[in-house]
Amino acid sequence: MHKHQKRPWTFYVLATLFTLFVIFLYGPMISIFILSFQGPTGGLVFPLTDPGFHWFGALFGQARTGDVGGAFGRTLPLALAVMVATVVISVAAGLAFRRRFFGSSVLFYTALASLIMPGLVLSIGILVAFQFLGLPTRWYSSAFGAHLSWTLPFGLLIMFAVLSRLDPAYEEAAYDLGATRWQTLTQVVVPIVLPGIIAVSLFGFTLSYDEFPRSWLTTGPQNTLPIEIYTMTTTVTSPALYALGTVTTIISFLAIGLALGSIGYIQHRRRNKKSF
């Protein structure tokens, strides 16, 4: 290839497209991030006047910004519970599906079907079913189930991919070396597929944490955070909304960073552990 070859015109077209894409992706996020530092007298739009942390304080004060603290106090345990349930069920199902059994493919497609089902429809369905059964909808019961219907297909698909690459010789070696089934699971299989399990946890947590459509009619009288934010857009007209967006985005990034960081650490450790 010639070193100083002229770039084809397509390069400039694609570069422009990509730049627009990046601006579209990060522009709003960065604008909201900047505007969340708006001063007490500033409005919902630029310019930024007298920047500070005023609206972050207002978030947790008893202003008329809605029950952000309470909503966060429900969303976090819900996301953690969904994460744990997703991991446990996905790993167990992944192990079961390594052996073909009667009806396994039907079961597999049934589990995936909820990916295709629109979230709002599912939300209505759960509400109707709970009313029919005479059960109250709550964030820890009906919303928990609704979120699982969304996170489990992802968890299952990841675990199937991870476990299908797991060499059965590891389990045979463990059996050969006198490990019980439980020891094989806890000391061999789970540690080997730990990066995959972390990935499933990340999906379980983040998908539940910011889930709106499936929470819409299923959280009951007490809102989760995404519902609370939606409600606030109709009632709150202060930059507190932006401050809230910044805080929740930071929490999401922390979760992703924690997950990717630990996967990276595990893989680094397996390759490069220092010798004496």
Partner: protein, 379 residues
């Protein structure tokens, strides 16, 4: 009292659905010996290994170790240990913790099991890598870790599934010597599955040649190589030319055979009790032949004539291949000095002859004339 480490299979069959992988096998492997199960892929050798190890259950038959039936027992109860083809070293554990794994499962305290693991790693000269992770080791080092992990509790029988197949040529030769040394040092029974003929005869006391779920020959390496009992073994082991003829006459010490192409072979009658009409397979070692460039067809028996189709220099000898008249290749190994004195070229007409005393009869393929139509064996 049965010697410890004797492995005996009696009428063992293993079927997977409609496929019979191992068909009614009887085999006894002496305690403290090195046995190689040899055969092409799919012949059932790995299935036998896995049944002895306790990773597969025979469909029928009996397996005993040291005179005790082991069916239904775990590998630990059997006193076996297996080395896997992929080594199956646990990627999340250090070399030391991999080696100590079996002791950990037994519930041995950390300090004690680590000391024992260091001791075992010393035997394979890898103690300096004890804190490394498996992914940081070379193939040969991983293999030695797998060996150390398998032998840490002094099993009676060590089972090795294609242990050298993942290594390059140079390491393979080095490691097979090391396996043999280890076996002598530990004094336990080694059962080693391989599809490489030279590997099997280099290390084993007993070579078990398999084909399609059956044992076709189980004997000392020199017997399997130089005195095969069937055309299959002769061809599979290599180093032999296999010929076939119908007995024409038995006169005194000489049995005269005639091939389908009209060649005449003479065999010493001490090797065979044959009658006219019998079909006999015989083998001649490639290095027990004389090659001569000649257009004339000799009048004496025990020769083949043909055109040279390939010449390969092998260092101490030259491998000359001719297209024998029955369309099977016939190979002659010519010592290098002799070849250099009388070169041949591809396309030359040559005569390859041998002494009647160097002919070996493949006894299992001897068909008596009254036994009906001849069954041509698969090559």
């Amino acid at each position: 009292m049965v010697h410890s480490g004797v492995v005996s299979l009696q009428g063992v069959t293993k079927s997977f659905g409609s496929l019979t992988a191992v068909d009614d096998i009887d085999l006894t492997i002496d305690g403290g010996s090195y046995c190689c199960l040899l055969g092409p892929s799919g012949c059932g050798k790995t299935t036998i290994l896995r049944m002895i190890a306790g990773h597969e259950t025979p469909t029928s038959g009996e397996i005993q170790i040291s005179g005790v039936s082991v069916l239904g027992q775990t590998p630990v109860q059997r006193g076996t240990a297996m080395m896997f083809q992929s080594y199956a070293l646990f990627p999340h554990l250090t070399v030391l913790d991999n080696v100590a794994f079996r002791l950990k499962m037994q519930g041995m305290a950390k300090r004690e099991r680590r000391a024992k693991a260091h001791e075992t790693l010393e035997k394979v000269q890898l103690n300096h890598l004890a804190e490394r992770m498996p992914a940081q080791l070379s193939g040969g080092q991983q293999q030695r870790v797998a060996l150390a992990r398998a032998v840490i509790t002094n099993p009676q029988v060590l089972l090795l599934d294609e242990p050298l197949s993942a290594l390059d040529e140079f390491l393979r030769l080095q490691m097979r010597g090391e396996l043999r040394r280890m076996q002598r040092e530990l004094g336990i029974t080694f059962i080693h599955v391989t599809h490489t003929q030279l590997e099997a005869i280099a290390v084993a006391d007993l070579v078990v040649v398999m084909d399609d779920g059956h044992i076709v020959q189980a004997s000392a390496p020199e017997d399997v190589y130089a005195r095969p009992t069937s055309a299959y073994v002769a061809r599979f082991m290599g180093g032999q030319n296999v010929l076939r003829g119908v007995v024409q006459s038995v006169v005194g010490p000489t049995v005269t055979l005639r091939s389908d192409q009209g060649q005449i072979f003479e065999v010493d009658s001490a090797q065979i009790s044959a009658a006219a009409g019998d079909i006999v397979h015989l083998s001649i070692r490639r290095d027990h032949t004389e090659l001569e460039k000649s257009d004339a067809v000799p009048t004496q028996p025990n020769h083949v004539v043909g055109k040279v189709i390939a010449i390969e220099y092998q260092g101490t000898y030259v491998k000359v291949t001719l297209d024998a008249p029955d369309n099977r290749e016939f190979v002659s190994h010519v010592p290098d000095d002799k070849y250099l004195a009388q070169r041949v070229d591809v396309g030359d007409q040559v005569v390859v002859s041998w002494r009647a005393a160097d002919v070996h009869i493949l006894a299992d393929d001897h068909r008596k004339s009254e036994s009906g139509p001849d069954l041509e064996l698969a090559s």
